[in-house]
Amino acid sequence: MNGAPLIDWDWITRNLDDPIGTRLLEHLYLSFAPLLLGLLLALPLGIACARWRPLYPPVFTGVNVLYAIPSIALFFLLLPYTGFSAWTAIIPLGLYTLAILVPNVVSGLAQVPDHVRQAAVAMGFGPLRRLIQVELPVALPVIVAGLRIAAVATISMVSVASLVGIGGLGQLILTEGFRRQFPTPIVVGIVLSVALAFVVDGLLVLAQRALTPWTRDRDPVARARPRTVGAAKGGNA
């Protein structure tokens, strides 16, 4: 620190493209892939839990235990198997999103009003068609709400993976900043990570609005706030 200013603008301009830009893109990729993985796992899992209720408590406990494993530990433990590939970050982060996404999928489906479901059955929808054409679309706002929380949480957690050398903006924070006792890259890393979280969150809101036109002008207040379900809150570990 040595009394140097917190932000060295010069450094920022010099390194805007690389490493700042490259790390940002890397960060984006490292956040997006776990979300996709999480969603691909959470949808079938959540659907199964919604359909066979007794399945839910063990699954819920399972995903929460996973969630409680410190991410550093998971990164380290995966290292011997996945090595220096992005999977080392993607697998743990993807598993973490389950703790948020599964309860949201379940509660989204549970929230489909019974009369809507009944009406679908009565009109002659088969189970699969009902799921795809009625239940999932109606559950979509809740699922997207979960996705928003998971996205923010994942974006903030990716940085931890820098401790095993795969951390997107975390690399900026760790190797450019911390190891050189240089605050500027740390601040830049934090700010960009937060900004990325906000942009992605905003994009998800827009996506949800586009995908669920029927929720518009319903309750502006409720829409502004992400929904909270069970232990599903963002954060990094």
Binding site: M1, N64, V65, Y67, A68, I69, P70, S71, I72, A73, L74, F76, L77, P80, V152, A153, I155, S156, M157, V158, S159, V160, S162, L163, L169, G170, I173, L174, G177, F178, Q181, P183, I186, V187, G189, I190, S193, V194, A197, F198, D201, A224, R225, T228, G230, A231, A232, K233, G234, G235, N236, A237
Partner: protein, 224 residues
């Protein structure tokens, strides 16, 4: 499977169970840091959540700030504060509090906001003053959700307090970080297991808290 075997070996080695670097000491340290961080966070977030929820004012601001806090990369915060304040408890607390405040704040706020307006109205209509409405009606009714927020925060804090090891203070993170540096994976896995155990204990604690603190009339409301 042999990983499991190593872990049990590591866990059952007698030297792990004594001394300042033993499991009990590390466990206690970890619990201490987590408890302190949770306490600080609760002291910050619960009153703000109650007030903003009660008045309905400033709620948007509080929620937005909580959202920013949620997006903060913990290790960034940790490392920045280390550069500013040196190693020790301060950076750890800063990082953990930034992590724990959002869920507590948001749940407290939502809990109070979510009190049936009819109930709030009835309370006022019976001649309760603002403070009485808050303490006698809104707080107890919001309690299940507040506890959910605290539990979420507590589990995250327990799992994240491992970063304390990075800045030279103890806790279960020591096992994970040291194990990695020394390529002793049973130590990493053992440390992680201990963290999970603590998280489960915390979950159990909150289950008990819910049983004893929440009025039976509310037990069906949101929560576990």
């Amino acid at each position: 499977m042999n990983v499991l075997l190593w872990v049990t070996d590591w866990l059952s080695a007698p030297e792990q169970w004594s001394g300042t670097a033993g499991i009990p000491a590390r466990f206690a340290e970890h619990l201490g840091y987590s408890g302190l961080a949770l306490l600080l966070s609760a002291l910050i977030a619960v009153p703000i959540g109650l007030l903003t929820g009660h008045t309905g004012r400033g709620g948007f601001l509080a929620a937005s700030l909580a959202n920013v806090a949620r997006a903060l990369p913990t290790i960034g915060v940790l490392m920045l504060v280390v550069l500013a304040a040196g190693i020790g408890l301060v950076p750890v607390m800063a990082a953990l509090v930034a992590l724990a405040v959002p869920p507590i704040l948001v749940n407290t706020y939502e809990g109070v906001r979510g009190v049936d307006p009819q109930v709030r109205d009835a309370a006022r209509g019976m001649g309760m003053r603002g403070r009485e409405v808050l303490l006698r009606v809104e707080l107890p009714v919001a309690l299940p959700l507040i506890l959910v927020g605290l539990r979420t925060a507590a589990i995250q804090v327990v799992s994240t307090a491992t970063i304390a090891a990075y800045v030279g203070i103890g806790g279960l993170g020591r096992f994970i970080v040291d194990g990695q540096a020394r390529r002793q994976f049973e130590m990493v896995a053992g440390g992680a297991l201990l963290v999970v155990v603590m998280a489960l204990l915390v979950a159990a604690l909150f289950y008990l808290l819910r049983r004893f603190l929440v009025a039976p009339g509310l037990r069906r409301s949101p929560g576990s």
